[in-house]
């Protein structure tokens, strides 16, 4: 379980997020909704440690990870797939997965096999350069890489951005499989209706602050949620 309390953070001393609270239980998919510039990506970067906390705390289960550098947060159970640059383009697909399992030694090959059961498409392309993959496959590779260390929580920043509706549904199928394995998944989605259909819970973030939170099925159709977003 991921618990963020009173999160305040931003760039160069200017807070973008103020007092944001968020909880991602194990095995549950949680979507973050909000207009452009609400601070969604900032929240993710703060959770993984690429941006420092200016206030508040982040816990994975009982463990306080607030002051840890990103690589230690990953080892503490966070997996992260950013919105841009989800893969290492000059490495092969297999090497990308190896980077995800950097701390593993002899179990590495077994772990790669296990992860690939979720993403069979990647199996045929193992020796290829990751930059040759299609956008959708790159998303899958990013997710597979983040799964290598058996995270408790996955952070997926707009996993379906730029994908066809068909591939977006495929990505969400993988996300549900990940959640069914007991991993909590936090995602950002642009398409509100789609996100509320797919996820279990949702948070609404506006101007760097939480406004609503609830079960996705309850939020669906609420004008104050869906009305927030133009286009």
């Amino acid at each position: 379980m991921l618990i963020g309390r009173g999160i305040t953070s931003g760039y160069r001393g200017e807070p973008v997020l103020r007092d944001v609270a968020i909880t991602v239980p194990d095995g549950v998919t949680v979507a973050i909704l909000g207009p452009n510039g609400a601070g969604k990506s900032t929240l993710f970067k703060t959770l993984i440690g690429l941006l420092p906390l200016q206030g508040g705390s982040v816990h994975v289960d009982e463990l306080d990870i607030s002051q840890m550098p990103p690589y230690r947060r990953v080892r503490a159970g966070l997996g992260y797939v950013p919105q841009l640059g989800r893969i290492f383009p000059s490495l092969s697909v297999r090497e990308n997965l190896e980077m995800g399992g950097f701390t593993l030694t002899k179990e590495l090959t077994d772990r790669i096999d296990t992860v690939l059961e979720l993403f069979p498409d990647l199996r045929v392309a193992m020796k290829q350069s990751a930059s040759n993959l299609s956008g959708g496959q790159q998303t899958m590779l990013g997710m597979a890489r983040a799964l290598m260390l058996q995270p408790k929580i996955m952070l997926l920043d707009e996993p379906t951005a730029g994908l066809s509706p068909l591939y977006a549904a495929k990505v969400w199928e993988s996300i549900r499989n990940i959640a069914n394995a007991g991993i909590g998944v936090l995602t950002i989605e642009q398409n509100v209706t789609f996100a509320l259909e797919q996820s279990d819970q949702a948070y609404v973030l506006v101007n760097g602050q939480n406004t609503s939170h609830g079960r996705s099925s309850d939020l669906k159709g609420r004008s104050d949620v869906e009305g927030l977003f133009v286009g």
Binding site: V74, R75, P82, I87, L91, G100
Partner: protein, 292 residues
């Protein structure tokens, strides 16, 4: 015709010297994302160490190289820890980091003048025996330079391609943020990169001293922009690209040097650098936006 062929041979020797410096510079540039203007001074220190160990203390040339590698490698790691890391931990600013490296270059170069004086130290050639390779005549020292370059760059290539550390270096070159967020201890990898880059400077310094027969405080600095030219031509963070560019640069410089005033060799290399920036400004580095 003979002059042309012979100068191609010298070009390969010059290329080997440039390649070692360029590969060491390129590796660190690619991973840390800022260029080290003090790299020439790293080489100079390596050259002095090689001179003291091999010429003054009469040890074998390889003993000199190993000693130079140890000293410059440690210097690089030390500077990373003491000087660069505090700047990177704070609010990293590319321009500030660049000025810091230039200031380091100034400090080191002037320290060498104080400690080693401005005298030209004559580096004793490890071998003056003449060898003929086809139509080209080489001295034993020149063949040694080529062999050292091939060995060093080959070893680095193996490290980058087949070891976990090397793969992590390539991953950081792609994106340091993603590497961190994959669970890679990027501080440790960065330290290793500085160590290797410094060790290459040690090799490069000795090889440079062998090639020009002398050591003085501005030795490395006068080659720095040739390294830059090779790095930019080859694509930042791509050791292979730097190697190929070094060969092109080395041959162009030596072949033209056979026909024009030797003083303009540098001007020619600069012209090549400018042409590359003009014609291939984007094709020369990866498409990602910089993160520093």
């Amino acid at each position: 015709m003979h002059i042309l062929i012979q100068s191609i041979g010298y070009g390969l020797v010059t290329a080997s010297v440039i390649a070692i410096g360029a590969v060491g510079l390129s590796l660190q540039f690619g991973v840390t994302n800022f260029v080290n203007f003090a790299y020439g001074e790293f080489l100079t220190l390596g050259a002095y160490i090689g001179y003291f160990v091999s010429t003054q203390a009469h040890f074998n040339v390889f003993v000199g190289i190993v000693a130079a590698m140890a000293v410059t490698g440690l210097l690089a790691v030390l500077l990373d820890q003491v000087v660069f890391e505090p700047f990177i931990r704070g609010r990293p600013n590319l321009v500030v980091l660049l000025i810091v490296t230039v200031a380091l270059s100034l400090i080191l170069q002037n320290l060498y003048q104080i400690v080693f004086t401005t005298d030209f130290r004559r580096y004793a050639a490890p071998s003056n025996t003449q060898y003929s390779v086809g139509d080209i005549n080489f001295t034993g020292s020149q063949l040694l330079i080529i062999a050292i370059a091939i060995t060093a760059i080959g070893a680095l290539q193996i490290l980058l391609k087949y070891t976990k550390l090397g793969k992590a270096m390539r991953a950081m070159s792609d994106s340091a943020d993603l590497a961190q967020a994959s669970g890679i201890n990027t501080r440790l990898v960065t330290r290793a990169v500085w160590l290797i880059s410094g060790m290459f400077a040690g090799i490069g310094g000795v090889v440079l001293a062998i090639n020009v027969y002398n050591v003085q405080p501005t030795l490395g600095n006068s080659y720095l922009f040739l390294f830059f030219a090779a790095v930019i031509m080859g694509g930042i963070g791509k050791p292979w690209g730097a190697l190929i560019s070094a060969v092109v640069l080395g041959i162009v410089i030596e072949v033209s040097g056979a026909y024009i005033n030797a003083a303009y060799k540098g001007g020619l290399a600069f012209l090549i650098l400018i042409l590359v920036l003009l014609l291939r400004p984007r094709g020369l580095f990866s498409s990602r936006r910089r993160t520093v």
